[in-house]
Symmetry: D2
Subunit: 240 residues, 4 copies
Amino acid sequence: MQHESFNKLNFALKKLWDRELSRSKFINFIENNQVPKHLYAQYLIETYHYTQHNALNQALVGARMDINNFSYQRFCFHHAEEEVGHQMMALNDINNMGYRFDENELPKALPQTTVLIAYLYWISTQGNPIQRLGYSFWAENCYSYIAPILKKVRTDLDLADKHMTFFVAHAEIDSDHSAEVERMIKKVCLTEQDSRDLSEVMETSLVLTVNMMDAVFEDYQAFRAGHSDRGTLLEARLNG
Amino acid sequence: MQHESFNKLNFALKKLWDRELSRSKFINFIENNQVPKHLYAQYLIETYHYTQHNALNQALVGARMDINNFSYQRFCFHHAEEEVGHQMMALNDINNMGYRFDENELPKALPQTTVLIAYLYWISTQGNPIQRLGYSFWAENCYSYIAPILKKVRTDLDLADKHMTFFVAHAEIDSDHSAEVERMIKKVCLTEQDSRDLSEVMETSLVLTVNMMDAVFEDYQAFRAGHSDRGTLLEARLNG
Amino acid sequence: MQHESFNKLNFALKKLWDRELSRSKFINFIENNQVPKHLYAQYLIETYHYTQHNALNQALVGARMDINNFSYQRFCFHHAEEEVGHQMMALNDINNMGYRFDENELPKALPQTTVLIAYLYWISTQGNPIQRLGYSFWAENCYSYIAPILKKVRTDLDLADKHMTFFVAHAEIDSDHSAEVERMIKKVCLTEQDSRDLSEVMETSLVLTVNMMDAVFEDYQAFRAGHSDRGTLLEARLNG
Amino acid sequence: MQHESFNKLNFALKKLWDRELSRSKFINFIENNQVPKHLYAQYLIETYHYTQHNALNQALVGARMDINNFSYQRFCFHHAEEEVGHQMMALNDINNMGYRFDENELPKALPQTTVLIAYLYWISTQGNPIQRLGYSFWAENCYSYIAPILKKVRTDLDLADKHMTFFVAHAEIDSDHSAEVERMIKKVCLTEQDSRDLSEVMETSLVLTVNMMDAVFEDYQAFRAGHSDRGTLLEARLNG
């Protein structure tokens, strides 16, 4: 991908974030309300769920017989190695906030989280082998966009860095990753079709992630209205 | 796996090599005859075929949802990364001997090579997630066993290091790998069942590899008797 | 699943349809406007795309090693066999309306259709082996719910049965299927967890299907506003 | 495939059976000795193991995205449906001979059986989608070749039809299957490459099956020499 096309991609991403952040009920609620602890905890639980699959579906791209590019293949395995176990940071953050969860006791993923996971496996194993880079592109690079929200969460919940290892560590790790992803996109995204496939995955995976956030918000509202098992479980496990 | 069990495993491997090397028609022929160029070239072609899958099936172990061990998972992806593209060394060695093959022109894998490949995928994706270490255990550690045969090939065909990059490079790389594999076996092979599963894969994958070698020898004999397409193709591509 | 639970499931489905039909922009537009030909054609194109995967992901349920129930396994393969090639009915309906598309010329699936497809593969190959019945349950049984909309489409576009083979044939086929699906649910959906898993898949797959419909509507609006490649292609292929 | 090519295939199969039956130590032993009960029981155990995968890997052929032929796809699912649960006939035959095994208590598959299973999955999911017909071709059609051996087993062990349901039932079922397989081969095996791929799978899968038989014989010899866990288990479960 040439420099100019890459700039276009970056610009499209900026517009996409603007659209998604402004349509998201989860984001809007956080911006305009004192952030409730359970809301953030539930979000971290979903983060735990999809994050545990990221190393796996990243590796599956490299294990495709049609990958046909050694340096991209190495990138996939290298990146997969670095993602191993990152879900534990989300779990630690949950427990550092005062909850008590063992790994196997967490509530199941919300349906919208399952949809995100399903989609990431699908685009990793089917279609254009380069397209998962569209997910990496925004995911490794999201901190500038979500920094204000994270700051609001941190202030409202009075969290220190040690309560936010998932985001703090990723912000650090990902500035390197982000440069590698950019380099790889420029190297393997060569045709118009490649660009379209990558852009579609970038947009769809970001939309599904925001849908997941909004499902967290919906579940929180259901909890407030007295009918969410997840919220009730969170309540029970807080300092319990 | 405890030190004593590991020693047993090593001893079982030694006995296995003795048995397999002495039953192999391919090995016996090489030991007792001037090595024909086509025989070695055909062997390298099969090596090319199964080697191109090794990074892939290694990564698939790490991508299993039942792997349940972060350091083993990292090992799988790390090792997969290092195996990427090694088949090109086999191809280079073939062409350095005077053949002219592009990657896509190589004859298809022999059926016995396909059987080996099929088996390695199966044990990587099914059954005990640690069992593929039984393959790595002998494969990363085979040079002491096959050194005399390689030396005979080298002398007979008057080959330099640059004609044997696959084996020379692997002998070097693999002394590191071998130590990592040993460490990992000691870490994750914990139960009696683990040991049995690992041993079965060690033995079966080595037997299938020797079967592959013997199929190379059989095909060479067929070529000498005037009815092997593979041998005829090799003839045509030599200095052609 | 006992009779009472099954009734609950049926009731939950009715509520779900009410909610989804009333939130759908696609449905609302059709109910309140003269139906444009391209809108229905685009819907059939998406139908073609996901339908071609239904036999495949249905068979993958039967091919799971954890399925553990012969009569359910037979049901999966039997049902898969019956679904083979049904996408061609959608294609025929498109072309019978005056479009000219070969199978390979259809526009790619919309992202929301890909999300639906990805989800159906995921729930077919992961998690509770019985859960895909939650999809079959509503899909084989949807004609009473969508009959008024189909009637509106038929009237507005002046279509005969031969233009609506996908829906007419399925309405017939599916009344049998529906009884088989009901029988199978009663047989294999035994625990509380089974019911929850099946219900989640029922709801999520129906929501994703309506999302797909709404994406068709959105794309039609984009076409009307002058910026949809899909709409432009439809225009070009009409009586062209 | 044209009539003449099909005759060639049949002739090649006849030669293959002759070669394999005469090289097999298992077959030779049965022909020339009073058949020991444990030997036949162990063979049925291995039959149980690979048979339970046949419906699955047959269905996986139909679930391939590159299958591209509706009538072959239907054949795959139809055939898969018919193969469901056939392993239970082998288990019943074992228990009807006086052994007492629950399904989960059977000894693990022998390594050579695992190799056969691995190969059948591989050729079902990779390479030419039509090639698994090479396995069906001999497997659905093997009774004329193995009838003398089965008769010898039946006489020596004084077995009735009810002790040989696996073979008696299959001989009946498979005469139909065999005609369907022939019809399908003639329909989808069209190119020279198709014929080569199908022939390779025919030969390799038959060789691996005979290797499995010979592994049964080897294990029986080990039992007689006092060192086979499998034989000891059989002994314990006989009328036990």
